[in-house]
Symmetry: C2
Subunit: 399 residues, 2 copies
């Protein structure tokens, strides 16, 4: 295919104006005055180029995105939401392939090139969600890549049969096994982690655990996960999502956990939703802990909010982190890009020569400016193909 | 002037589809099948009509809105931001009439019909800010109404000469006198309140105090303000902005303060910014306390964030309040409309026959849906005049 020459652009973390040549799906060259040859030339007039955004935590299988407004129907407690969802899933036809596709299209048009989604796996739903998400992802292939986590929303030990279903999901090709509140929900943190880490080790998949448990209970579970990750030699392959306890802990405990997480090679993924505690992003990054970010629920029975736009999510993360300075706000942007890429284990990610050509162009003076104003996406490219121009999806490649 | 007939619309808090006739600056009639007469007919196809939005707390005089991106330059402490602002105001030409006008235009196009802004009044700036804001407001007259609070950003007792300047500002026509952390900043809560309440009583202006002081100190100051408001008989004329201590307090203290605030007729205005504590909106409303909302800083030396769109601000308030249900999310919408109108003492506000015709039309299924998705403003009307259509300002009335 012919290449694409981005003329007069400013790639994030490259100084000054430059050209960027995309050819054969990769960033072939970055430099001034590149000869376009047969490549399509796009004049960018100094626009900012970001790497393709990486959604590190969402729940595509639950979404009602693009459908009629559904007022939130659950009571205030967590148990209310779990019960409400079980009751209303069938009534609303969830998981709904049309809704999943609609959300993925919005994400792709907004510059997201990779998604990690937690798909419910439990006795009530079996593997329907995994199949629906897989099929929707196939329809969007080439425009957005979707990786699934088999997610035991209702627990593993407390929901008999779930461990076997998680294993079946892995055989269907999910890239990670999930977990949820090993103590607070599943009532036996060590055995819960036995199952999750056991599956990961046997099948070579990654791990991404939901940890909402607060305070010292959550801190204890983080310690268990750190010890277990070290012992299993799974550095770079384990993520803890939410980790509210990390945001609640005192400074000394945060320091100790940050050192442990960095040493074990564990990613912390936050969504910065509602008023829930946000992990100390700046401290974690300074300690060398990878931090990723995602939406969590988007317009579903758990939350009526969410846009699918990762610059919007980065704004929420920066805002809740009270980041005012450009270099701090960029930490939030890093979480929805490089941080997510590290969590998902993406090879060849970034804006350097030889990297896969996944990129987003926006009209912003600095990366922080892009987070604050969330400008339209002028151009989205994935693996060298134009996915969207001025916010509208292009035809899929090869069709 | 000819009237305006909104055909097939859904005014908030009115059941079902109806017509709404605007004539002579007021809502002349609400009902089905109204005869348009010579009025312009606007077919709304079931769109939602909200009352004109009321920005209850911002700082127009500080804004850099619409200018080039200015990376935040202050250090992390409050004192750093105060020093940074003093140093950079002159360099950046603040207050800047063009920036104030640009922000007011954005606000008006987004459906804000009334603004309360806190204008710095202290030895360093004198009354320049009051005059700049007054002049910008005059240029936008008929499209957006601006009320100023004379705001002692650097304290009153600790910044000699400020009390006299506040009095001069009142003589220039500001509608309220401000205060700031009577204990934490001004070091003498009783004498600070003596000055503020003294000015308000002598000149018949309203009061709007910034209260960031945390914990039991902030609670004590709220008690002082409640006692003082009751003693002075100023029910309905006093606002406490931010009131972080109210968000931090235990439930019993919140209950006690809510009862006191309701009895004294004090408004709580929140901006729900960054990670700062948000007052318990639902509890306050249940106790009968008026709650208003505003942006606080918008793209200035204090904060690089802020859009000027009050639906966006309502989203932040609902989100930080963990409001999921429609009726809860509507409390945030109420804060940027009816709550603000009560704080400012606006007469004839609302969507009832005889009310002043200040209204905004959006394409949303429910009021909560409007807060979550923040759709474009299809039509903005102020005092019967069309201010904006599809987000673009109309020509000013009479020109």
């Amino acid at each position: 295919m012919p290449g694409l020459l981005l003329r007069d652009c400013r790639p994030w973390r490259t100084d000054g104006l430059t050209d960027l040549l995309v050819r054969d799906g990769v960033v072939a060259r970055i430099g001034s005055g590149i000869d376009a040859g047969d490549a399509e030339v796009v004049e960018l007039g100094g626009r900012l180029v970001l790497p393709g955004l990486v959604e590190a935590h969402c729940h595509l299988d639950k979404t009602l995105y693009g459908g009629p407004w559904r007022p939130h129907s659950a009571g205030p407690a967590l148990a209310d939401r779990i019960t409400d969802e079980r009751l209303r899933r069938a009534e609303l036809g969830l998981p709904d392939p049309a809704r999943v596709s609609a959300l993925l299209e919005t994400m792709a048009a907004a510059g997201t090139t990779h998604v990690r989604t937690h798909t419910d796996v439990y006795a009530g739903t079996g593997l329907t969600g995994v199949e629906v998400v897989r099929d929707a992802a196939a329809r969007l292939a080439g425009r957005i890549t979707v990786e699934q986590v088999a997610f035991p929303q209702s627990g593993i030990l407390t929901n008999p049969g779930t461990a076997a279903l998680l294993e079946e999901a892995i055989k269907l090709g999910v890239h990670a096994v999930g977990g949820i509140d090993p103590a607070g929900m599943d009532r036996d943190p060590v055995r819960h982690l036995d199952v999750v880490f056991g599956l990961a080790e046997r099948h070579g998949v990654r791990i991404d655990l939901h940890l909402h448990d607060p305070g010292s209970l959550g801190v204890f579970e983080l310690e268990l996960i750190i010890e277990r990750t070290r012992a299993a030699g799974l550095a770079g392959r384990v993520t803890v999502s939410h980790a509210y306890a990390l945001g609640q802990a005192d400074a000394a405990t945060q320091d100790r956990l940050a050192a442990g997480l960095a040493d074990a090679g564990i990613t912390i993924t936050t969504a910065a939703v509602f008023d829930f505690p946000v992990p100390p992003v700046k401290k974690l990054r300074a300690a060398g802990v990878n931090v990723a970010c995602g939406h969590d629920d988007i317009r579903d029975l758990w939350s009526p909010y969410g846009s699918g736009d990762l610059l919007d999510r980065a704004m929420h993360l920066a805002y809740r982190s009270t980041f005012r300075r450009d270099e701090d706000i960029e930490l939030a942007l890093e979480a929805v890009s490089y941080g997510g890429a590290r969590a998902l284990g993406l090879d060849g990610y970034g804006l350097t020569e030889g990297a896969r050509a996944d990129l987003v162009v926006v009209d912003a003076e600095t990366p922080a400016h892009a987070v604050v104003t969330r400008p339209p996406r002028d151009l989205v490219v994935k693996a060298g193909h134009v996915v969207a121009r001025t916010g509208a999806l292009s035809r899929p490649p090869g069709r």
